[in-house]
């Protein structure tokens, strides 16, 4: 799927043009459905995500910054919608009974590639952090140390550790959400 980057379409959307809305729907509806399906395993719920995401895009159309990556923008909305649905599902275990695992037509190889993508993306993002922050983040997340332990080892205050982790998370979240990743061009 091509990277959606037509400033004209996004300007149109901001103005409330339905043609622009249609173009975006055509570009993203199927992808959005398949993405939701991968996580939710339910056709109804995946359809609901498609609806929710496009309703949000329309409602927030004036806030869209056409200069930034629209792919990142729609991804962020989709991710949040799926997460909300997942939180709800956790509280309603009955809804799992009828999961259909084979609805998304992806084969094993692709999914292995996907796993490598994820690890690569994570590493690439973490490497973009300043050295000290990177170290603290890795100690916390990859070595499972508590903030207090990190503070003691590095001889800094717990406040500093908390601050560094918070900034790291902020950066990483933005980096991963927004950045158009290179793998997009290699889509299978």
């Amino acid at each position: 799927m091509a990277q959606f980057n037509d400033i004209k379409v996004l300007r149109g959307l901001r103005r409330g043009s339905l043609n622009a809305f249609n173009e975006i729907y055509e570009q993203y509806a199927v992808k959005l459905f398949n993405f939701s399906m991968l996580y939710l395993k339910s056709r109804e719920e995946a359809e609901e995500i498609v609806q929710d995401v496009f309703v949000k895009i329309w409602q927030n159309r004036e806030k869209i910054n056409e200069e930034l990556s629209f792919n990142g923008y729609i991804f962020r909305i989709a991710k949040n919608c799926v997460l909300n649905k997942l939180r709800k599902k956790i509280n309603e275990p009955d809804s799992f009974v009828s999961v259909n695992q084979c609805l998304v037509g992806q084969n094993q190889t692709e999914n292995e590639v996907l796993f490598r993508d994820m690890e690569g993306l994570l590493e690439e993002a973490i490497e973009g952090l300043p050295v000290q922050r990177q170290l603290i983040f890795r100690m916390s997340r990859q070595n499972g140390l508590s903030n207090k332990e990190i503070a003691e080892q590095l001889d800094i205050s717990v406040n500093t550790v908390e601050g560094q982790i918070r900034k790291a998370i902020n950066y990483l979240r933005n980096y991963i959400d927004i950045l158009p990743i290179i793998i997009a061009t290699l889509t299978l």
């Binding site: 919608c81 799926v82 997942l86 094993q108 993508d117 994820m118 908390e162 933005n174």
Partner: protein, 370 residues
């Protein structure tokens, strides 16, 4: 991170119990970054190929449009020229997105989706409210310790607010802007998060710096007054310094790995950051232009028509519609004016003396005819 489980999940081989485990992992704020990476990689990998399930993307689109129409009755939808209606007539033509024929009756499908939607919306609002609280509470606190409670002050369009902080600092928050800070603000530190525009008068405290974060930029002050303008959707971010000294740090560029350009501003200086170009510009600012909003004055100085409209929309909580936009040219730019406590009618009337346009105000909708 449980690699084996994630792998199994991606191969679609999870049992329902394992699925619950994956869902819990994805939702746990401790794993936010890893989960985001997984989501993002699958988002990029997932194909745009129509799935072999019974999904009719046209019907789905129609029910979305129905819902939008329901929510925006003001959007001249009774009018035959309504884009929504026009669209519904066009929709029959087979498009790229057309899927294997759905055997169900179209109208009944549309109806059902619609019902599902209103039900989902209620649920979504509840889940979102819970989710939001959850996110805000966890946003700064991905640690095992007590969650920090945050105070959120938010202004809709057309409203401003003055906030007095515990440390003696004062914030004037512009419309359509949000300020967040910890409940124990001032005790250990003075950190705030701003979306939109605010003017800060900072009380002196040489130990705890006063820090305002907007997206990826942090402005630090000791005892000063300054203005920050960072509306989402606008491509620039501005900090204007009225008194004292501030330091501005960039934490990352959205598409470069640059971490931490740093600037110190002097009185009367403004730092403009262009999001798109990832470029900083230091200029002397016109105090009237940057700061008059906090005294209730709308001030234009050689402003572009588009800018004027954006400002008025925010100020008066209205929506502008431009008729005959093709007549728009540079003669409509370069707008000057200063209005204190004026009604929108007066502002538009005065503007229309120098620029050639007609206007009609109908509730919250303003039509400008060039």
């Amino acid at each position: 991170m449980n690699r084996a489980l994630i792998n199994k999940f991606l191969k679609q081989q999870c049992s329902p119990e394992e699925l619950v485990e994956i869902y819990q992992w994805l939702c746990d704020s401790k794993n936010e970054i890893e989960a985001t990476a997984l989501f993002k990689s699958s988002w990029e990998r997932v194909s745009g190929v129509i799935p072999k399930s019974n999904v009719n993307f046209d019907t789905l689109k129609r029910s979305i449009l129905d819902q939008l129409e329901e929510e925006e009755p003001s959007k001249n939808l009774t009018n035959d020229k309504s884009p929504f209606r026009e669209e519904q007539h066009n929709v029959a033509s087979p498009e790229k997105i057309n899927v294997e024929a759905d055997n169900e009756d179209l109208s009944s499908t549309a109806h059902r989706s619609h019902y599902v939607l209103s039900w989902t919306r209620t649920a979504a609002i509840i889940v979102m409210a819970i989710g939001l609280t959850f996110i805000i509470f966890n946003y700064f606190n991905n640690t095992e310790e007590e969650p920090v409670k945050y105070i959120v002050k938010s202004n809709p369009r057309g409203q401003k607010a003055t906030i007095f902080l515990k440390d003696g600092s004062k914030v004037i928050l512009n419309s359509e802007s949000t300020l967040r800070y910890a409940q124990d603000f001032g005790e250990y530190n003075r950190e705030l998060i701003l979306d939109g525009e605010a003017f800060f008068e900072v009380a002196k405290d040489s130990i705890k710096p006063f820090r305002v974060t907007t997206q990826n930029i942090t402005t630090t002050a000791l005892g000063t007054s300054f203005n920050i303008r960072a509306f989402p959707g606008e491509k620039t971010f501005n900090v204007s310094l009225a008194t004292g000294k501030v330091v501005i740090d960039q934490y990352q560029g959205s598409d470069s790995m640059a971490t931490g350009k740093s600037f110190t501003l002097d009185v009367g200086e403004e730092l403009i950051y262009d999001n798109t170009l990832d470029q900083f510009d230091r200029v002397n600012f016109d105090p009237k232009e940057a700061l008059s909003w906090k005294d209730g004055i709308i001030y234009f100085n050689d402003s572009r028509f588009e800018e004027v409209i954006e400002k008025l929309e925010r100020w008066y909580d209205v929506e502008f519609e431009l008729v005959n936009q093709d007549k728009m040219d540079d003669t409509y730019n370069h707008i000057d004016g200063e209005f204190k406590d004026e009604s929108l009618t007066n502002v538009l009337r005065i503007m229309s003396f120098s620029k050639d346009f007609k206007y009609t105000i109908n509730g919250k909708n303003v039509t400008i005819e060039l």
